[in-house]
C-alpha cells in the first residue's frame, strides 16, 4: 500500500462515487502524569490546534483481579486531547494525549489498540507520576520512549539519572527537551519511530 505521495498515483485513487479515497490513520499515544505537558506536546507538533473530546472506555474484561467491586462490563468517560500530522494523501498520524490520572491506567487497553507506540512524558520533580504509564506499556509490550520535559531549558537531572530512577530498559530512549518547541517534540516522536524501525520487542505477555 502506498503511504508516500511520491508514488504519484493520483488518477487511480478516485472512488467510483467520485469522492477522493480517504486516507488511513495511525496513532501514537502521549502519556504521563497530570500536568506534565501532554497537551503542550500535541499542540507543538500538530497541524491543527489541539482538539478535545470525550470517549467511553471499557473498564472490565482486562484479565486483572485487582478491580474489586467492578463486575461485568462497565464504561467510564475520559477526556482526550489530540492533534494531527498529515503524512501523505493516504496516511494521517493522530497524536492522543491520554488521561494522566494513574487510576485510569486500566482503560488504556482501548486506547492502545492499534497504536504504533507511545511517548511517556516525565517531570524530573515528580518522576513517580510516570511509573503507571511505563508499567502499563512495558506489560503490554507497547514500544515507547521517555521524554523529559525541560521548561525554560531547566535540566536538573541527566538522562542517566532519569533512566536509573525510572528503572528503564537500556533500549528505551530517553530524550530531554522543551515540549513547547516544535523541534524538541518532533525529535521525541522521531526517537519513537527510530525505535520502531529498529524492531519491536517481543510482547511481554500474550496479546
Amino acid at each position: 500500500m502506498p503511504y508516500s505521495d511520491s508514488d504519484e498515483q493520483t488518477g487511480s485513487q478516485a472512488s467510483v462515487a467520485g469522492s477522493p479515497t480517504a486516507p488511513a490513520a495511525v496513532k501514537i499515544l502521549i502519556a504521563g502524569g497530570f500536568g506534565v505537558g501532554k497537551t503542550t506536546m500535541v499542540g507543538s507538533v500538530s497541524e491543527i490546534p489541539p482538539l478535545h473530546t470525550e470517549e467511553q472506555l471499557t473498564v472490565a474484561g482486562l484479565g486483572v483481579d485487582d478491580l474489586g467491586g467492578i463486575e461485568g462490563k462497565a464504561t467510564t468517560t475520559v477526556a482526550l486531547d489530540f492533534g494531527r500530522i498529515t503524512v501523505s494523501s493516504q496516511l494521517v498520524l493522530y497524536l492522543f494525549g491520554t488521561p494522566g490520572q494513574e487510576r485510569f491506567w486500566f482503560m488504556w487497553n482501548d486506547l492502545v489498540h492499534g497504536a504504533l507506540g507511545a511517548v511517556v512524558l516525565a517531570d524530573t520533580r515528580r518522576l513517580e507520576s510516570s511509573f503507571a504509564s511505563i508499567d502499563f506499556f512495558e506489560s503490554r509490550g507497547v514500544p515507547f520512549v521517555v521524554g523529559v520535559n525541560c521548561f525554560h531549558g531547566l535540566r536538573d537531572r541527566t538522562v542517566e539519572e532519569v533512566r536509573d530512577a525510572l528503572d528503564l530498559d537500556p533500549n528505551v530512549p530517553v530524550v530531554m527537551g522543551d515540549l513547547r518547541e516544535r523541534g524538541d517534540s518532533r525529535d521525541l516522536l522521531l526517537a519513537l519511530v527510530n525505535r520502531l524501525m529498529a524492531g519491536r520487542p517481543p510482547a511481554a505477555i500474550g496479546s
Partner: protein
C-alpha cells in the same frame, strides 16, 4: 459564559448545546456498529446533498459537511462538541444510509513485524515539520 438568555440562536459562541446528547440520538446510547474507532476516517460520499436530506438531523448535516474532507471520527466528535459515543451513533446512521464511508485504521498489532514503508513515511513527515 453568557447567560443563556443573552445568547442568540445563531451566535457562534453558543457552544453549549441546550439539547442533551442522547436526545440527539433518540435515546440510543450505543452504536449498533462496534467497528468504529477514534481514528476511523469518515468521508462524505458525493454528491454531498441529496433529496431526502430533510429527514436528517442538524447533527447529521454537520457531519456530512465536515467530512467532505475526510477526517478521523475523533475530529468529527470534537467538531460537533459531542462525546465520541454519541458521534459513533450518528456516523453509524450515515453509514447505513450510504452517505459516508468509514475507513478503518491500519492494522498495527503488538509484536508484529514493523511495516517499514509506513514507518519511513511517518519519519519523513516528521522531518518535514
Amino acid at each position: 459564559m453568557n447567560h443563556w438568555a443573552d445568547v442568540s440562536p445563531d451566535d457562534d459562541d453558543a457552544e453549549e448545546s441546550l439539547v442533551r446528547p442522547y436526545t440527539i440520538t433518540h435515546g440510543r446510547t450505543a452504536s449498533v456498529r462496534d467497528d468504529l474507532t477514534l481514528i476511523t476516517v469518515i468521508a462524505t460520499v458525493s454528491p454531498a446533498e441529496r433529496p431526502g436530506d430533510r429527514g436528517l438531523q442538524p447533527e447529521h448535516r454537520l457531519i456530512l459537511r465536515q467530512c467532505r474532507t475526510p477526517v478521523a471520527l475523533a475530529e468529527v466528535a470534537a467538531g460537533l462538541n459531542l462525546p465520541v459515543a454519541v458521534t459513533k451513533i450518528l456516523v453509524g446512521d450515515l453509514i447505513t444510509l450510504d452517505r459516508v464511508t468509514a475507513r478503518p485504521p491500519l492494522a498495527v498489532d503488538i509484536g508484529q513485524e514493523p511495516d517499514m514503508t509506513l514507518l519511513q513515511a511517518v519519519k519523513d513527515a516528521l522531518l518535514r515539520l
